[in-house]
C-alpha cells in the first residue's frame, strides 16, 4: 500500500501508514472503544469531560482528513472551531434559535470561512500553506476579538442547551452525551467513507506525489480545496457542539494555541490512521483536565515537550506504532 517513493518530490514525511485490510485485532479494539463510549455514563466517567473530549475528537478527525490523508498542514484550524462556536452561541442565546439549527448554521459558516481561506491558501504549497492558514486564522481571531456581538474578552456566556427538534431536552447531561456520541460516530464513519472513496484515493495520491497526480490529469487544486472545506466544516461542527455542551464560546476556542493542540492530538495519536486522532484527543484533553489545577503554567511546558518528543522520536503516533508493531509481528 505504501507508494513507491522513486520521485524526489515524493512527500516521504507523512507516514503512509494506511492500514492493510483492518486486522481482526484493530477491529476488536474499535468495537471495545465504542462499547466503552456507549457505557461511559454508567461507569462513572464525568459526562462534561467525555462530551468535550468527543468534540475535540471530531475536531482532530476533521484535521486528520487534511493532514493525514491529504498531506496539507493547516496551522489555523482553531479559527473554524471558534467561528462556529461563536455563531452557534450567538444564534442560540440571542436569537433564540433551536440548538440543531444553531449547530447547522455554525457548521456551515465555518465551511464558508474555510472556502474563503482555502481559495487563498491553496495558492501556496507545503510550509507556506501552513503559514498562510496560520495568518488567516489570526485574522479571524482578531475579528472575533473586536466584533461588536462577540463579547470581546468575555466571549459569549450562558448559552442555553435548549431542546433538540423540539422534543428532546438537552439539559440532561446523559441525553446530550448520546447526541454528541451519535454525531461523533457519524463523523468518524463519514471520514472513513470519504477516505475509502475514489475521491479519497485521489487525495492520497496528492499526498504521496503531487506532481504525478497533476500529470495524471487531476485538477489537484480543486481536490485540495474540497478537502479543506470538508475539514473546516467538520471542525466547525465540533466547535458548535462544544458550545452547546459547555454553554459558552470564548476566545481560546479560536486561538492559535488550540490550532497547535489539534496538530499535537493528531500527531500523538497517529496521523493518517482513523482511530489515531480520537486516541490523541482523549489523551491530550484527559491530560489537560488532570493537570489543570495541579501544575499551572507547566501545562504549556508539558504539551510543548510532548510535541518535541513526538516529532523527534515518535512520528507514527500511538496508533501508528501499534499498527507497525502488529505488521512486524505478522511478518515474522
Amino acid at each position: 500500500m505504501n507508494a513507491a517513493t522513486d520521485s524526489p518530490a515524493a512527500v516521504a514525511a507523512v507516514p503512509a501508514a494506511t492500514p492493510a485490510p483492518a486486522s481482526r485485532m484493530a477491529r476488536a479494539a474499535l468495537w471495545v472503544g465504542l462499547a466503552v463510549l456507549i457505557a461511559a455514563p454508567f461507569i462513572g466517567l464525568y459526562p462534561i469531560f467525555m462530551m468535550t473530549a468527543l468534540c475535540f475528537a471530531i475536531f482532530a478527525c476533521a484535521f486528520n482528513l487534511l493532514l493525514g490523508f491529504t498531506g496539507l498542514l493547516s496551522f489555523g484550524h482553531a479559527a473554524y472551531l471558534g467561528v462556529a462556536a461563536y455563531t452557534t452561541g450567538w444564534l442560540v442565546r440571542s436569537a433564540n434559535l433551536s440548538p440543531e439549527l444553531g449547530v447547522l448554521a455554525g457548521t456551515l459558516l465555518a465551511g464558508v470561512c474555510g472556502l474563503a481561506v482555502g481559495l487563498i491558501a491553496i495558492r501556496r504549497q507545503g510550509i507556506y500553506f501552513a503559514m498562510v492558514t496560520l495568518a488567516m486564522a489570526q485574522m479571524i481571531y482578531f475579528v472575533l476579538l473586536q466584533a461588536p456581538f462577540t463579547g470581546g474578552e468575555d466571549g459569549l456566556q450562558g448559552v442555553p442547551r435548549g431542546t433538540l427538534f423540539g422534543v428532546l431536552s438537552l439539559a440532561n447531561d446523559r441525553a446530550l452525551y448520546y447526541v454528541v456520541l451519535a454525531v461523533f460516530v457519524a463523523v468518524f464513519l463519514g471520514i472513513k467513507r470519504i477516505v475509502h472513496s475514489p475521491y479519497g484515493q485521489v487525495l492520497k495520491a496528492i499526498r504521496e506525489n503531487e506532481p504525478r497526480a497533476i500529470s495524471l490529469g487531476y485538477d489537484v487544486d480543486r481536490y485540495k480545496l474540497l478537502a479543506f472545506v470538508l475539514s473546516t466544516t467538520l471542525a466547525g461542527l465540533a466547535g458548535s457542539l462544544k458550545c452547546i455542551v459547555v454553554g459558552f464560546a470564548a476566545l481560546p476556542d479560536a486561538h492559535w494555541s488550540l490550532s497547535g493542540e489539534v496538530v499535537l492530538m493528531t500527531l500523538l495519536g497517529g496521523m493518517g490512521t482513523f482511530a489515531g486522532p480520537v486516541v490523541g484527543a482523549f489523551t491530550i484533553i484527559g491530560l489537560q483536565n488532570f493537570l489543570a489545577d495541579r501544575v499551572g503554567s507547566w501545562i504549556n511546558v508539558i504539551i510543548g515537550a510532548i510535541f518535541v518528543v513526538c516529532v523527534v522520536a515518535f512520528r507514527r503516533g500511538i496508533v501508528g506504532e501499534l499498527n507497525a508493531w502488529q505488521q512486524r509481528r505478522r511478518g515474522r
Binding site: A12, V14, L73, A135, Q138, G260
Partner: protein
C-alpha cells in the same frame, strides 16, 4: 499643523512607531529567511527566542547589573548558544524529512519556552528602562523625535544591511548561498557544511535576540511578546517571499509603516491589515513580492 484632519505630531509619531515595528519585522523575517534557506526549517521558535533575548537583557539589568549596551552583545550570544544547542540536539534529526516537522518541533520548543517564562515571571509586563544616553527627545521643528526610537530604527536597519552585505558580498556569504543551492556539492568542495548550518541557525537566533533587546525598552517585556509577533512575521515572510534577503528587509519595514498608517486612519483594522495585504498579494502574486519560485 494637520494632515487629513490628524495633528501632524500624532501622525508622525504613529509613523515612527510603525517604522520601529517594521524594523523588528525586518530583523525577524531576515533571520527566518536565512534559516529557511539553509536548513529548510521554518523556525516557529523565532518569536520565543526574541522574547528570551528581551528577558536576558531584563534579567541582566535587574539581577546582575549588566547594562543595556553589554546586553546588546551578551543576549544575542546567550540565545545564539541556545540556538546552537537546539540545532545540535534536535533539529539535525529533521533535515531529511518533510519541513512540516521542523515547524512542529520549533512550535513545541516555543511552547516550552513560553510556559517556563510564564511560570517564572508571570504574564504581566516588565519595564526595561531606556539607557541614559538615549533618553529624552530631539525637537526637529516639525516633530519631537524620541531618541530611543530613532536609535532602534537606525540600529536594526544597520544590522539588517550588515547581514545583507555579509550574505551577498563576502566569501562566507557565498558559501552560505552555495549551501542553500546544493549542500552536498559545497561539502564536496571541503566546506564543513554541518558546522556552517549550526552557526547559521545560531546567528539567526542571535539576530532574533538582538531584536528582543532593542524592543525591551519600547514595549513591555512579557512571555507572550514573541508569539504575538511571530504570526505577523510569518505573514510578512509570505508577502515578501523567502527568496530574497533585501526583499524581506524591505517588506518588513514597509509593512510596519502600513500598520502605523492604519493605526492613524482606521485603528480597528490595524491588527489585521498585514493579513489582508497577505491575502491580496497571494491573489495577485502567489510567490510573494520578491519570491522566485512559482
Amino acid at each position: 499643523m494637520e494632515i487629513f484632519g490628524i495633528p501632524l505630531q500624532a501622525f508622525l509619531g504613529q509613523l515612527l512607531l510603525g517604522l520601529v515595528n517594521g524594523s523588528f519585522y525586518a530583523m525577524l523575517s531576515l533571520g527566518l529567511a536565512v534559516i529557511f534557506g539553509l536548513l529548510g526549517i521554518v523556525n516557529f521558535a523565532h518569536g520565543a527566542l526574541y522574547m528570551i533575548g528581551a528577558y536576558v537583557a531584563w534579567i541582566g539589568m535587574e539581577k546582575l547589573g549588566i547594562n543595556y549596551w553589554f546586553s546588546l552583545v551578551t543576549a544575542p550570544l546567550v540565545v545564539g548558544a541556545l540556538g546552537v544547542l537546539i540545532e545540535r540536539t534536535l533539529l539535525k534529526h529533521l533535515y531529511k524529512i518533510d519541513p512540516i516537522y521542523g515547524l512542529l518541533l520549533t512550535f513545541g520548543l516555543a511552547q516550552i519556552a513560553e510556559g517556563l517564562f510564564r511560570e517564572q515571571f508571570g504574564v504581566s509586563g516588565q519595564q526595561y528602562a531606556v539607557p541614559e544616553l538615549l533618553q529624552g527627545a530631539t525637537n526637529l521643528g516639525f516633530m519631537v523625535l524620541p531618541n530611543y526610537r530613532a536609535w532602534v530604527v537606525l540600529a536594526s536597519l544597520s544590522v539588517c544591511l550588515g547581514t545583507w552585505f555579509v550574505i551577498e558580498r563576502t566569501r562566507l556569504g557565498a558559501y552560505l548561498r552555495a549551501g542553500t543551492e546544493n549542500p552536498a556539492l559545497v561539502q564536496a568542495f571541503g566546506i564543513n557544511v554541518p558546522v556552517m548550518v549550526m552557526l547559521t541557525y545560531g546567528a539567526g537566533c542571535g539576530l532574533a535576540a538582538l531584536a528582543g533587546v532593542l524592543a525591551a525598552p519600547v514595549i513591555q517585556v512579557t512571555p507572550l511578546m514573541g508569539s504575538n509577533l511571530i504570526i505577523v512575521v510569518f505573514a510578512v515572510v509570505v508577502i515578501g517571499g523567502m527568496g530574497s534577503i533585501l526583499g524581506s528587509i524591505l517588506t518588513g519595514v514597509a509593512l510596519g509603516l502600513v500598520e502605523g498608517l492604519t493605526k492613524v486612519f482606521y485603528p480597528e483594522a490595524s491588527s489585521v491589515v498585514v493579513f489582508v495585504i497577505m491575502a491580496i498579494v497571494l491573489m495577485i502574486r502567489p510567490a510573494g513580492l520578491f519570491g522566485k519560485e512559482a
